[in-house]
């Protein structure tokens, strides 16, 4: 298991290749990459991500550990950035490796759902009209209930 909370960019292709290499007991690898997209009404100048150093690492590690306990996984990778990002930048990625795809897919979705609402990150959108904190959505909280 690897958890990286970082300001700098990452290369998802390279991360996927490293994550996949040298495995003999794995039949499925799922990767997900989150990307900064434009907002609906105003052009996004930047997405600023604040976090809680110390707690972030602990919370994300606990979420990844829980995924390993619930599904039969060979490995888990979580990378999440903080700081100032712009449209098209990659914010985060998760990767799961399992013997079978069902475990890999479900665990990846679980990780995404929990990273969204239980890891201490806060997004702030900066547009020409000003900056505003992104509100948590009820759907994101509801998504946790299926697990």
């Amino acid at each position: 298991m690897r958890v990286a909370i970082q300001a700098g960019p990452f290369d998802p292709g390279r991360e996927s290749a490293v994550f996949a290499s040298g495995r003999k007991d794995v039949g499925a690898i799922v990767t997900f990459t989150g990307v900064v997209r434009d907002t609906g009404d105003a052009s996004l100048e930047a997405m600023e991500i604040e976090h809680y150093p110390g707690m972030t690492e602990a919370a994300v590690t606990a979420i990844a550990q829980e995924a390993q306990d619930r599904w039969s996984l060979a490995d888990v990778l979580v990378i999440h950035r903080h700081g100032r990002l712009v449209t098209g930048d990659m914010i985060m990625m998760v990767a799961t490796a399992a013997r079978h795809r069902k475990d890999a897919f479900e665990a990846a979705e679980y990780l995404m759902d929990y990273l969204k609402s239980r890891a201490p990150f806060w997004k702030r959108e900066v547009t020409a009209e000003g900056a505003s904190w992104v509100d948590a959505r009820d759907e994101d909280e509801d998504a946790l209930s299926r697990w």
Binding site: E50, Y52, I91, L115, R118, F121
Partner: protein, 81 residues
């Protein structure tokens, strides 16, 4: 005890962290104490349903006891991913 604020809670209170000498028994008591200090705290803590709390870097709730606690953090619901 170290008290930390994040996102708009930090902006409304105007600082990211402070050392607070308190005898508050619970998080809710600490919130009441802070609200009584100055208007900016009263504004930041006006709607507790819009806030989350972590105790020693673990998510907790407003009824939690503060005895032996070193660090309390207040922040809005998280928006990672």
């Amino acid at each position: 005890m170290n008290v930390l604020y994040f996102a708009w809670v930090r902006e409304r209170i105007g600082l990211p962290r402070e050392e607070i000498d308190t005898s508050a028994a619970t998080v809710a008591d600490l919130v009441e104490e802070l609200k009584g200090r100055e208007e900016r705290y009263a504004v930041a803590f006006s709607d507790l349903s819009a806030l989350r709390v972590a105790i020693d870097q673990e998510l907790s709730d407003f009824d939690a006891k503060l005895e032996g606690v070193r660090e309390v953090a207040f922040f809005p619901p998280m928006t990672g991913g």
